[in-house]
């Protein structure tokens, strides 16, 4: 039983991880854009790991809650129930609060370490717009992925978390780049 466990785990995990690695490499290639514009945005890379982590964590726990709710019957596919609304609002509120806090933490730690960083207003505008826009997309994607996998007879617990965290990274990176382009275009930095 135990050696079977090894084989089945390796077999089930590896192909999925390799597929996701490929998708992530595409996202990474897009990140080159930020590196090229880094001189206009000192300290911008500090925001990247927290934004990615936040998106994954908010999205995955929303997906996990929704799949439990589907199992329990509180949420039904294609129906807007009260539980669904509460879960969606919570995801959106958390996205907003956490992006604002991220700007505050980054600003404070820039001061503490005396690093050269963007001003607080620019940091907050970038962090909140990237966090909230990608959060908005992620919340709806989490609902769609969870309900779709449930309708297909898959256990959403197995599918949603890795799918949402990968999709979250790609979407966050794309929104991040778009916002930075927008800032450059509007001459905000």
């Amino acid at each position: 039983m135990v050696s079977k466990l090894i084989r089945s785990t390796v077999k089930q995990t590896t192909p999925l991880l390799i597929l996701f690695a490929f998708i992530q490499l595409t996202a990474g290639t897009m990140l080159g854009d930020i590196v090229n514009n880094m001189s206009y945005f000192p300290g911008i890379l500090i925001l990247l790991p927290p934004l990615l982590a936040m998106r994954g964590n908010i999205g995955s726990s929303l997906g996990a809650r929704l799949s439990s709710a589907l199992h329990l019957g509180y949420v039904r596919p294609n129906k807007i129930t009260n539980s669904l609304k509460i879960n969606i609002y919570s995801g959106l509120i958390l996205s907003f609060i956490m992006s604002a806090l991220l700007a505050v933490f980054t600003f404070i730690s820039c001061g503490l370490t005396q690093s050269i960083c963007l001003g607080f207003v620019s940091l907050a505008m970038i962090s909140i717009s990237v966090g909230f826009i990608s959060g908005f997309i992620m919340v709806f994607l989490a609902v769609v992925i969870t309900e779709f996998s449930y309708k297909r007879g898959l256990d959403p617990d197995n599918v949603t978390s890795p799918t949402i965290s990968t999709a979250g990274d790609v979407i966050t990176i794309m929104v991040f780049i778009l916002i930075i382009r927008l800032f450059l275009m509007l001459g905000l930095v």
């Binding site: 135990v2 466990l5 090894i6 785990t9 390796v10 995990t13 590896t14 991880l17 390799i18 996701f20 690695a21 992530q24 490499l25 996202a27 990474g28 290639t29 990140l31 080159g32 930020i34 590196v35 880094m38 890379l45 500090i46 925001l47 990247l48 790991p49 927290p50 990615l52 982590a53 936040m54 994954g56 964590n57 908010i58 995955s60 726990s61 809650r65 709710a69 329990l72 509180y74 539980s83 509460i86 879960n87 609002y89 919570s90 509120i93 958390l94 609060i97 956490m98 806090l101 991220l102 933490f105 980054t106 730690s109 370490t113 690093s115 978390s161 890795p162 965290s165 990274d169 990176i173």
Partner: protein, 183 residues
Amino acid sequence: MRYKMGKILKESTPILIITILISVISGFVLNGNQQMLQMIPGMIIILPAFLNMGGSMSGVLSSRLSSGLHLGYISPHIRKTKFLTRNLEASYITGFVTFLVLGLMAGALNIALGQSINLYMFTFGILIAGLLTVFILSILSVIFSYYSWSKGIDPDDIVIPILTTVGDFIGIFLLFYIMSMVI
């Protein structure tokens, strides 16, 4: 049990704040390595994939460990059992295969994009950095799972967010440290 917005917000906020704080530190490490990022564009290409792999692998391991604890397959005291060692072995095999493939794919992509890198050294660096990350994370995963279980906290709720965040930090640090040695 019905969902209440206050409860969701109250339970999620502390862990999210902790993860943001830790990942801001990872951000500083990343930002401090700007020169290397500009010199070796391959580094930023591989970063999201590299971090995600480490996070996914430790996530899978922690989920299995906490299911094992819930179902009583493993005793709640850290002991070297077959279940534990086989689970760790599975993580290392998965890690070896995935990071090898990731290194080769990323190296090939870099060459296709016109970067002059040594494919073998690049892949070797990614593989070593990846395996070290998986190794450290697997130890942490075991410790956190048993510890939270012994404290009566469901490991499912806290181990994965903590590990993915700590994993980002360890991953970024090791990736830059090891790649600066091999390239």
